[in-house]
Amino acid sequence: MGDMVKRDAPAGPEPNRVDKGRRRFLWVTGGLGLAWLGLSAYPVYRYIAPRPVPDPFGKEGRAAVKKVSPADVAARGAGANGSYGQRGCIVFRTPQGELKAFDSKCTHAGCNVNFAGDSISCHCHGGIYDFDGKNVSGPPPRPLTPLKVFEENGVLYVAPSDQGKEV
């Protein structure tokens, strides 16, 4: 049908009108095509978009520390790597006797730092932190994230440090 219109209108004002009509048709088709692609892409995007992760501290605002017991941090200078929720942490008692905890995710490239008794270091790119979690050597740009830590019924718990008053 389109071919016939083209061939039957060779001269005069007619082609102009045909061109306009064709242009509008192309715009509408293009618009519909984009809408079709967009409508198809939206559910696909939602399907592959990252899923929200549950708050590691949950409703109670605290999380039990796994793999580290109060006995492991009883002595001054003792400590270990543990985990809470899906995350890693280090819990230790400073030489001065203070119990401390940090999220173990290195602020540089995301490896988990290692508590080695005398230092906190990252095996990936050689970052070193002091017992206040402050980055003192190597590539890390920021201090470790501090956590509030306490013992209850023989279990260690961590909570966000800025919330941490009484549980």
Binding site: I48, R51, N81, S83, G110, N114, H123
Partner: protein, 396 residues
């Protein structure tokens, strides 16, 4: 030929009257003629092979393509060896596809570590096939890097071959992504932290970094959900992409012919010697491919790929953790540019592929002029830089 014209008639159902009489005249235009050149080389028309090949060419008239390929030739000179690097890469790709499909039989993305452990510990030859997949991946990247630098130093990227060069770079990039995505799948502590570091660098890219990183990981951290993304990427999306780009790359090479270095181009026509690609050159590749098979088996037997302890997202990163050698340059840059300088280090690393991309648009003259010689010298320095950083990373 007359025989063929009558064929549809004689093959037609016996006694079917409707349609057949009219169809008798049509077949002539439906089937292509066999070109006289083809008649000279095809098997005798009365043999089975002769009948089959003629029947095929009548239906799919691709004789010009076959003839074009039969004239394909490869220059013979003292640097000819380097032409084989691309075919080595292709060989390793075939090994990757075969061993990859075999690994998929027992690999399970919902039990990544234990299913790989089963492949290694229980399945006959499982450890060998996994090790070959590992070694072939490494050698494929090595072959591609050598291919890249040999085409660079032979200046094969100059017009009209810019697009061949660019598709080659795309192939190298896709292969590196295949290496990165496959590395996570065994879910041991090496692969876990390597992926965490790799994606955290993507995350630091300005503008879209955070969004892309979340999309790739499936959340704010690397979890088993990340395998759900990397597995289909590694076994479907990236291989399809690779094969598609490879098809274009090889098509360009076929159409343009093999690049001749300036020294060969300067020879008089009588002094130029060539191999015919079919089959002179191809047959010479077979012993190389056999030697590579032996090399893969030997490396896999002597240095089998270890399966490190299962990833524990809470535990400290293992001591002495390092990426594969082909990611050693960004690894070193991460260590060398601390704190707020890190962005500078990553920006410099990001410049490396860009330098390769612009080469065919900077150095265009045949034979090489002063600028061409400067580019070659810069290339030597750049290769020394990459090799030095890689060696430093491996030894540190």
């Amino acid at each position: 030929m007359d025989d063929s014209r009558r064929k549809p008639d004689s093959d037609g159902p016996v006694g079917s009257t409707e349609g057949t009489p009219a169809a008798v005249d049509i077949p002539d235009s439906r089937f292509a003629e066999i070109p006289p050149d083809a008649e000279k080389v095809l098997p005798p028309a009365d043999s089975v092979a002769g009948k089959a090949s003629r029947a095929f060419l009548r239906r799919v008239p691709i004789w010009p393509v076959i003839e074009f390929l039969s004239h394909k030739k490869v220059p013979r000179h003292k640097h000819s060896f380097w032409y084989t690097l691309g075919s080595m890469g292709l060989f390793f790709l075939i090994v990757q596809i075969v061993t990859g499909v075999l690994l998929m039989i027992y690999y399970s993305p919902s039990q990544p570590w234990s299913s790989v452990q089963r492949i290694v510990m229980e399945i006959p030859f499982g450890g060998l096939i996994r090790s070959i997949h590992h070694w072939s991946a490494n050698l494929m990247l090595l072959a591609l890097f050598v291919h890249l630098f040999s085409t660079f130093f032979m200046k094969a990227y100059r017009p009209p071959r810019e697009l061949t060069w660019l598709t080659g770079l795309a192939l190298l990039g896709t292969t590196m992504f295949l290496g990165f995505s496959g590395y996570l799948l065994p879910w041991d502590d090496l692969s876990f932290f390597a992926t965490r570091v790799g994606i955290s660098e993507i995350e630091k890219t300005p503008l879209l970094g955070t969004w892309v990183a979340g999309l790739v990981r499936g959340g704010p951290d690397v979890t088993v959900d990340t395998i759900g993304r990397f597995y289909p990427l590694h076994v479907v999306v990236l291989p399809l992409l690779l094969l598609g780009i490879l098809g274009i790359h090889l098509f360009f090479v076929q159409v343009q012919g093999v690049s001749e270095p300036d020294s060969f181009r300067a020879l008089t026509p009588e002094k130029k010697r060539y191999h015919r690609f079919f089959s002179e050159y191809l047959v010479n590749e077979i012993p190389i491919w056999m030697a590579l098979t032996a090399l893969l088996v030997a490396l896999s037997a002597l240095f089998p790929r270890v399966l490190a302890p299962e990833a524990d997202p809470g535990a400290a990163a293992p001591e002495g953790i390092k990426p594969e050698w082909y990611f050693m340059v960004p690894f070193q840059m991460l260590k060398l540019f601390p704190g707020s300088l890190e962005f500078l280090g990553m920006a410099l690393t990001g410049l490396i592929p860009l330098l390769f991309l612009v080469v065919p648009f900077v150095d265009r003259t045949v034979p090489a002029d002063r600028r061409g010689r400067v580019v070659a010298r810069l290339g030597v320095g750049f290769l020394a830089f990459l090799a030095g950083m890689t060696a430093w990373g491996i030894l540190s």
